[in-house]
Amino acid sequence: MNLDELKDKIGIGEDKVYAVMGAFTAPEDLVEGGRKIREMGYTKLDAMTPFPVHGIDEAIGVPPSKLGWLVVWFSALGCATAITLIWYVGAIDYRLVIGGKPYFDFSYTIPIAFELTVLFSAFASFYGLWVFNGLPRLYHPTFNYSQAHRASDDLFLLVIEANDPKFDAETTAEHLRSVGAGDVEVVEG
């Protein structure tokens, strides 16, 4: 597979329109603008901001994160791993009387069970964060926007993706301008 085919497969390339993007200078304006755009019927929306902007998720329809569920399962797995390990070692594989203590007892599994619960939860939330976000990745079409580098500084960007059923480069750009966005551009993949 050559590079062009690969680009085609993952939907990027200079001739493909990825989105229309515009910038706001204040988080409140972004939330307000995003809400209006969504009321116009757009569904494939995203925002790019230098810090988490409160209210943006509801405004542009980002579903609540389900990361918590993943962590719950992994925490249970961590706890079970610790107890199983200690039970297997003490009561099955290596039975040894030490200080007259029983081969296995729940009471002395508590510290390690707790630590492994925490450790597995931490791994789940850390790796889950990147998997859920589709990261790490080296390239993203939104980086082609001329102001993209300021999304980590002081600009609040609104993205209307081209796969939105209502998307039409020119009218969408006009809509974005009408809600107060500046530097509106059609961004290619």
Binding site: A26, P27, E28, D46, A47, M48, T49, P50, F51, P52, V53, I56, D57, I60, V62, P64, S65, L67, G68, L85, V89, G90, D93, Y94, L96, I98, K101, Y108, T109, P111, I112, F114, E115, L116, V118, L119, S121, A122, F123, S125, F126, G128, L129, W130, N133, L135, P136, R137, L138, Y139, H140, T142, F143, A148, H149, R150, A151, S152, D153, D154
Partner: protein, 468 residues
């Protein structure tokens, strides 16, 4: 915005935590230190780094000497088989605890003032735990066999660990603590690394920051998962930090040695850890604030709040000392009574009284606002607190071992020059790592401080609306 922020009346009502013209200024101010071209790194920084790096070299030399000769080069001997190494281990782990406390517990309590200091406090945790790990690792005598501490099936040992022993609990607690702290710190760092990636024009730095920031683009979906992950990491770090020093204290409390065999140890160790950790954050922040001119970001309000925590935890530690003495008397156990009298008036009286003075008496000065807001006073107290907390660990460990049940087995501990140079070396390592971090990574969480700034802007505009 600036006019509103500088209005003295408004400041009185709601003093700003962050004084910055706007988001861009903030980015400039913090990443300027990392970029080093607009804000030049002062020469004093490089001189300090050279000094601390040399001390780190001393640590390397001491460890090489220990490995080539044997752990007899340390002063550990009967009856004091645990001496400076475990004192230093507990000391460094304790230092680390304030970092987690600031980043996790204050986050859960929605204490916005933490944002200026949490990044450096988290870094401090990592570096302190690294220093702590050196001591038990080298006390094993064969650090290349360190994997024997973990339940990894291996053919060269054919043994399992004894899970009934608190020492293995400690292995799990400390390694979990280090791992979770590292993940927490790196998670917080990613959006700021993206900021650096977007700002730099240097190709090499673009690649480095580009890889480290994992392609972060600040998407609303990113932030949604990020905030959830951050909340979970904070929520699990909070009990974790309490468990780590509790488990460290089990190393002592589950033994039958007078002065160690007591149920007060877990909370007492945790309070002491937070106390010493805050003092250490204070020392480092005062130095960083002065050398890198961060007065706008680390304000007197931050410092005063930290001093209040030092006063509270110092008083808890003082209460624990009093409680220990009371219980020793009330228990009616002659060995327990003797240990505590021996602690205060025996051969280690000088260590015990250094500890009482530094940990209990001196921090009481913080009842006065003038003392809490005086930079020289807080610098001095941050140092004395750490000296006092080092002595606390030494006193607990040495006095109980030096004179136990049988007078025939009494002894006295003499540290060797290798003990002293190794401990000094870990201080050098700690400072070197911290200085490198402060210069090459954003020391203040850019995205979090911007979040606080946004809330402030909102507050003020609300008030303006109210006024209308």
């Amino acid at each position: 915005m600036s006019a509103v922020l500088q209005d003295p009346q408004l400041m009185e009502v709601n003093p700003p935590l962050v004084r910055s013209e706007d988001y861009h200024d903030l980015t400039e101010q913090i990443s300027g230190i990392v970029e080093g071209d607009v804000i030049k790194t002062p020469t004093k920084y490089w001189i300090t780094l050279a000094v601390t790096a040399s001390i780190t070299g001393l640590l390397g030399a001491m460890l090489a000497y220990l490995l080539s000769t044997g752990i007899g080069v340390w002063g550990n001997n009967r009856p004091i088989g645990w001496a400076w190494d475990i004192t230093n281990f507990v000391f460094w782990i304790g230092i680390g605890h304030a970092g987690t406390l600031i980043s996790a517990i204050l986050f859960l309590f929605r204490q916005k003032w933490r944002t200026s200091i949490n990044r450096s406090a988290e870094a401090m945790t990592l570096f302190a735990v690294m220093c702590a790990g050196i001591f038990p690792l080298f006390h094993t005598g064969r650090p290349w066999r360190a994997y024997w501490l973990f339940p990894i099936p291996n053919t060269d040992l054919n043994l399992w660990q004894n899970f009934r022993s608190p020492l293995i609990w400690d292995v799990f607690a400390v390694s979990t603590y280090f791992t979770v702290s590292l993940l927490f710190w790196f998670t917080g760092l990613v959006p700021d690394l993206a900021t650096l990636r977007d700002r730099t024009t240097n190709k090499v730095k673009q690649v480095i920051f580009g890889l480290l920031s994992l392609g972060w683009r600040g998407s609303a979906r990113h932030w949604s998962h990020y905030e959830k992950a951050y909340l979970i990491l904070a929520a699990i770090s909070t009990p974790l930090v309490l468990s780590v020093h509790s488990i460290v204290s089990f190393d002592f409390a589950t033994s039958v040695i007078p002065g160690w065999h007591t149920t007060i140890f877990p909370p007492y160790f945790v309070a002491g850890a937070i106390f010493s950790g805050f003092a250490c954050v204070m020392t480092l922040l005062l130095i960083a604030r002065w050398t890198l001119n961060l007065q706008n970001l680390i304000t007197m309000k931050h410092l005063e709040n930290m001093n209040k925590i030092i006063l509270v935890t110092g008083s808890i530690v003082g209460y624990s000392y009093a409680c220990e003495f009371f219980i020793a008397w009330y228990s009616g156990d002659i060995y327990e009574r003797f240990t505590f009298l021996n602690r205060a008036f025996g051969p280690y009286w000088w260590a015990a009284w250094s500890m009482y003075s530094c940990n209990v008496f001196i921090p009481q000065l913080y009842w006065f606002k003038r003392m809490r807001t005086n930079l020289w006073v807080m610098f001095a107290i941050s140092i004395t607190t750490n000296i006092g907390m080092w002595f606390e660990r030494f006193v607990i460990i040495a006095t109980s071992l030096t004179r136990d049940f049988l007078p025939t087995s009494w002894g006295y501990f003499h540290p060797t020059w290798v003990d002293m140079c190794t401990f000094l070396g870990t201080i050098g390592l700690f400072l070197t790592l911290f200085l490198v971090f402060a210069r090459f990574l954003p020391m203040i969480a850019i995205s979090e401080v911007k979040g606080v700034l946004a809330v402030q802007k909102h507050q003020f505009s609300d008030e303006e609306v109210m006024a209308k």
